[in-house]
């Protein structure tokens, strides 16, 4: 039989007032296997702990139950004490007779009875405990950052500056992300590129950062500390080691009318192109879909003009593998398409643009060199309407959430418009103005009060084009914006020259697929889910995978940067040790009993369950069984209750332990009495 010691605490008066602790300790003595049972005024005090430690040594205890306050309070304290006395700490359990008993029941008789049963159940449980060791997982001190926008850049630099190697994977030919295309940033109106470009260069030059642009994460295997990443380097058709980035190829390329991704369609690029002048790496890429050589089989002009002979038409996608210990996902966002808005012409009207396009128009390096003009005729818009919440907070559009950044950038846009076209009239249709943030509300007020933006609270119901006479005998196309001013309770109709939709933010395309590769949950809009919305906002549910920026939800630049630094700091905490130590509460599989229905795999939130082949002597696969990765398992136990054969079990909460606990509650109350009665007779 086990040798259990029970130690009942008075907690001063806290327990002893409503629970007869002496009787509790006495009652435990009648349980087979209980060697000592004592009470003491303050178990958690040094002398109290000494009583326990002495008993462990002197009585060769194989298990300890301390009956006192909630395990959340002192479990660690006592387990440490047990360890100091040479007992495996996991052989000590806490019976909660304070929060769950003495504090909630006034009747001393009832309280005592309950305390006896609580303690007894923990005694029975401890009999089923066995020695456990914390799990250690070796850690590869390299991080993968997916996405080279501002969040990715920040995370990569922070980790790299912390002395760890970083792999950065960026899908497009250059890092920089959306921020590289912005004109000026709120609320300070400093130039976006001026603050971003140096950081991009720093990434390129950093000795600890290995950059893969025009590349994608193909697969992710492994678990925290030990991920194996397969990266697909898409064929760039240019050997960037040789290319000097002189740009002559781009200059000579005959394909001129390809809408530029960077310009959000407001400008054009060539088939061989450097996405934007400050691109990192500043090397061109051939867009094979539009390249004359690739589509028609001849041209090769770029090859001819290339001095260093860096053009490689025969380049193919290349796969590389990298081992990393942590992953930061910073895949960013895109905005929804205007064709989602049939009421606004579903993208048919050229002069309805989105916020990102406006940024390009307003940018000094943009296609109009900072001049705000109508895409349709290149004229300055005299009247401009900004529509906030285009799609956001609109369940009918499938986006019930707030895109968060629109209020601020719309104000900024109205402001920039006014700075450039002083006589122009800017209307802003909004639902609510959300401008919480340092200097944000002041910024919006400035747009309204100093820059004359006319804020109208209400939705725009319809926009259509109408050709009208401008009074000078000219036919001009106007956009008729029909809306309602809900504050004045009147309908409005504005003849606008241009409309800017603050279209809703959604995750980058392919977010869900990436989440599946990485094995983290995502919500119905494909934003990655954080492990805990309050306490673990930059961690994903998969250990070792962290989130930064808009991957998780719409965020502005400062937030994204803060996120990224937080994620980087989490990565560095992880990397601060050679091995990761965690508590041993993980699931285990008995391969003999498992018959491979893989229901457990389906319910595991951590992708901790994989399929293992069982082979016979001839090496043939006879069946498949579940295997649990200790690195990934978080010990929720969901796999066990779905397992019909009970082929798995959760260490620390085994079926045996729970069975013993349930069985410790006597079938009827009389039994307790007779048992103590028996004991007295024996004496």
């Amino acid at each position: 039989m086990a040798r259990i010691g029970v130690f009942v605490c008075w907690c001063g008066e806290n327990i002893a007032r409503t629970v007869d602790v002496i009787r509790v300790a006495e009652a435990m003595k009648s349980i087979p296997g209980v060697i000592v049972s004592l009470d003491y005024k303050y178990m958690c005090s040094d002398p109290g702990q000494k009583i326990i430690k002495d008993a462990i040594v002197n009585e060769r205890l194989s298990g300890v139950v301390v009956a006192l306050c909630s395990p959340l309070m002192h479990e660690k304290t006592f387990r440490t004490a047990a360890k100091e006395a040479g007992l495996n700490p996991f052989l000590l359990e806490v019976a909660n007779i304070r929060e769950h008993c003495s504090w909630v029941h006034e009747d001393k008789e009832e309280g005592t009875k309950k305390a006896i049963e609580i303690t007894r159940s923990v005694v029975e449980r401890v009999k089923q405990n066995y020695e456990l060791q914390n799990i250690t997982v070796p850690i590869t001190n390299r991080a993968l950052v997916i996405g080279g926008g501002i969040a990715g850049i920040q995370a990569a630099l922070d980790i790299a500056n912390g002395g760890h190697q970083v792999i950065m994977v960026e899908r497009t030919p250059s890092i920089g992300g959306h921020m590289a295309g912005l004109s000026e940033t709120f609320p300070t109106l400093d130039c976006s590129q001026c603050i971003l470009t140096p950081r991009m260069v720093e990434v390129a030059r950093h000795p600890n950062i290995k950059l893969y642009t025009y590349s994608e994460v193909e697969s992710v295997h492994g678990f925290v500390g030990n991920f194996k990443i397969k990266i697909r380097k898409k064929a760039r058709s240019v050997d960037i080691n040789i290319c000097t980035g002189c740009g002559i190829c781009q200059e000579k390329c005959p394909q001129k009318k390809i809408p530029s991704e960077f310009e959000c369609g407001t400008g054009f690029r060539k088939a061989i192109y450097i996405p934007f002048p400050q691109a990192v790496p500043n090397k061109p890429v051939i867009d094979r879909e539009h390249c004359t050589y690739f589509t028609k089989g001849k041209c090769k002009l770029c090859e001819k003009v290339c001095g260093p002979k860096a053009i490689r038409y025969d380049q193919v996608d290349e796969y590389v593998e990298e081992d990393v210990g942590a992953i930061v996902v910073a895949t960013g966002y895109e905005v929804i398409n205007s064709d989602k808005f049939p009421e606004y012409g579903a993208g048919r009207f050229k002069d309805i643009i989105n916020g990102l396009q406006f940024e390009r128009l307003a940018s000094a390096s943009g296609p109009t060199e900072g001049k705000i003009v109508r895409p349709s005729d290149g004229k300055e818009p005299e009247t401009i309407v900004f529509i906030a919440c285009a799609g956001s907070r609109d369940p009918a559009k499938g986006i019930p959430y707030c895109s968060k950044i629109c209020c601020m950038y719309t104000a900024k846009h109205a402001m920039l418009y006014h700075h450039k076209i002083h006589h122009g009239k800017a209307y802003v249709f909004y639902m609510d103005i959300r401008s919480a943030g340092k200097g944000y509300d002041e910024f919006v007020r400035r747009a309204i009060e100093q820059d004359g933006a006319i804020y109208v609270r209400g939705r725009v119901s319809r926009i259509y084009e109408k050709t009208i006479n401008d009074g000078n005998g000219n036919e001009v196309k106007k956009l008729i914006v029909k809306g309602v001013d809900t504050l004045m309770n009147e309908t409005m109709e504005i003849e606008a020259d241009m409309v800017v939709l603050a279209t809703a933010v959604k995750p980058s395309p392919g977010a869900a697929q990436l989440a599946q590769k990485v094995g983290t949950p995502y919500n119905e809009y494909e934003f990655f889910s954080e492990a805990h919305p309050k306490l673990r906002p930059v961690e994903s549910n998969t250990a070792g995978v962290f989130l930064a920026g808009c991957t998780q939800s719409p965020k502005d630049i400062p937030e994204s940067v803060a996120d990224a630094s937080a994620a980087a700091s989490k990565v560095q905490i992880l990397f601060s040790k050679k091995e990761l130590e965690r508590d041993p509460y993980v699931s285990i599989v008995n391969a003999d009993k498992c018959f491979g229905c893989f229901s457990c795999e389906a319910v595991c939130p951590y992708r901790a369950i994989s399929r293992e082949e069982i082979k016979n002597r001839k090496g043939e696969v006879v069946r498949m069984v579940a295997q649990i990765n200790k690195g990934l398992c978080q010990g929720c136990g969901g796999c066990i209750s779905i397992c019909r054969a009970k082929a798995c079990d959760l260490i620390g909460y085994t079926d045996e332990q729970i069975w013993a606990q349930i069985h410790s509650y006597p079938a009827d109350e009389a039994e307790i009495e007779t048992e103590t009665g028996d004991e007295e007779e024996d004496k």
Binding site: S30, D592, E679
Partner: protein, 381 residues
């Protein structure tokens, strides 16, 4: 021993007397099921089981002309019974014996095959070590069997050397003569076979004179019974003699035919549970460490875990091996040890098997194949 005759209409009076003599009466009844009146066509067959008839009012439930779905071995060897009770406290372990609850009992309506089964089981349960639970109940039970006049398609008692009206194992045998065309009157031949049977009849007749009248001299019917018995035997569809099967089974043990014949066995225990002679059991503790019972529960050699060692090795790892063991044990091993085969030909397993595995036809096919082989060999010689 004496022979009587009893008119069918007086049967109830006999039962009443049994009850009023404070004897426990067990007889086949149609067990009340939660059956509804309508379209549930799947389960419209009645379940006839041996149950205690607690009072006079329940006599009407007794079913005489049907065959029970379970054998009567439960009376002596219940599907589950405690053998010891233990209490394990700090003060020590106390073990209490369990009273077998052996009451004076009259078992009515067992078939001759069932009755013979009891005597087969008795040989095992008294083999060197006497199982008090079985034997005490057996000792206190008077078995009144009911001769079979219309055997089922699945019956094959003559194959194992019995007959629809054989007497071994019974204390008293009732043979309904009414089904015999030559016998117009609705009456039973009552053959008293053992002293225990005689004691019962005497105790019944002895207490009441009117009962003396209902049990009248029956020797005159004995001859008619013999003829009737032959006639019924003739009617039986399954008549292959199993006498020489031991040899064949020995020969066929590792033969693929035995495997293919039993390939469809699913490994449930229906056959063992309904069998009047299957006696394998399990011993398990029920309860907690502090108090509980040690149980003796029916088990079956068809179950995969039956022979699985704690270490994981299972000598009979395939279902056909388990099936083979069942046949071998019944028709070969038991016969070697206890003279008779452990099968009484009641056909219950045949009826109950969900995949229609049929011990009779397996043996029949084995025999045929064996004979063919022999012929071939002889010819070659």
């Amino acid at each position: 021993m004496k022979n009587y005759q009893l008119s069918a209409k007086d049967l109830a009076a006999f039962f009443e007397k049994v009850l009023s003599n404070n004897l426990r009466l067990i007889a086949p009844i149609k067990v009340k099921q939660n059956e509804s009146q309508n379209v549930t066509k799947l389960k419209n067959k009645a379940h006839i089981l041996f149950r205690e008839i607690p009072s006079k009012d329940d006599l009407k439930n007794i079913v005489i002309d049907a065959y029970t779905d379970m054998s009567a071995k439960e009376i002596f060897f219940p599907r589950s019974e405690p053998v010891i009770e233990y209490t394990n406290k700090k003060s020590g372990v106390v073990i209490k014996d369990i009273d077998p609850q052996a009451k004076e009992t009259v078992l009515f309506g067992a078939r001759p095959c069932d009755a013979f089964g009891f005597s087969l089981l008795e040989r095992l349960f008294s083999w060197d070590y006497d199982d008090p639970f079985f034997l005490k109940r057996r000792e206190k039970t008077t078995v009144i069997s009911l001769g079979c006049t219309s055997p089922l398609e699945s019956c094959f008692c003559t194959s194992v050397g019995l007959s629809p009206m054989n007497t071994e194992g019974s204390d008293i045998l009732f043979t309904p003569m009414s089904n015999n065309n030559n016998d117009k009157e609705d009456r039973y031949l009552v053959e008293v076979i053992t002293p225990r049977g005689e004691k019962l009849i005497e105790s019944i007749i002895g207490i009441s004179s009117d009962l003396k009248n209902i049990f009248t001299e029956g020797n005159s019917l004995v001859q008619a019974k013999a003829a009737f018995e032959n006639k019924v035997k003739e009617q039986m569809k399954r008549k292959e003699d199993f006498k020489d099967i031991t040899e064949i089974l020995k020969y066929k043990f590792d033969d693929s035919q035995l495997e293919s014949e039993t390939y469809r066995c699913l490994g449930c225990g229906v056959c063992s549970m309904v069998c009047p002679t299957c006696h394998c059991f399990d011993i398990v503790d029920e309860g907690e460490a502090s108090h509980g019972y040690r149980m003796k529960n029916w088990d079956s050699c068809s179950f995969a875990l039956f022979t699985k060692h704690g270490g994981g090795h299972n000598p009979r790892d395939m279902q056909f091996k388990r099936c083979r063991q069942r046949y071998m044990h019944k028709l070969h091993y038991y016969r070697e040890k206890f003279a008779d085969a452990l099968c009484v030909g009641c056909g219950r397993c045949v009826k109950a098997c969900p995949v229609n595995l049929d011990i009779y036809s397996v043996v029949y096919n084995l025999k045929k194949a064996y004979a063919n082989n022999k012929n071939k060999e002889d010819k070659e010689k």
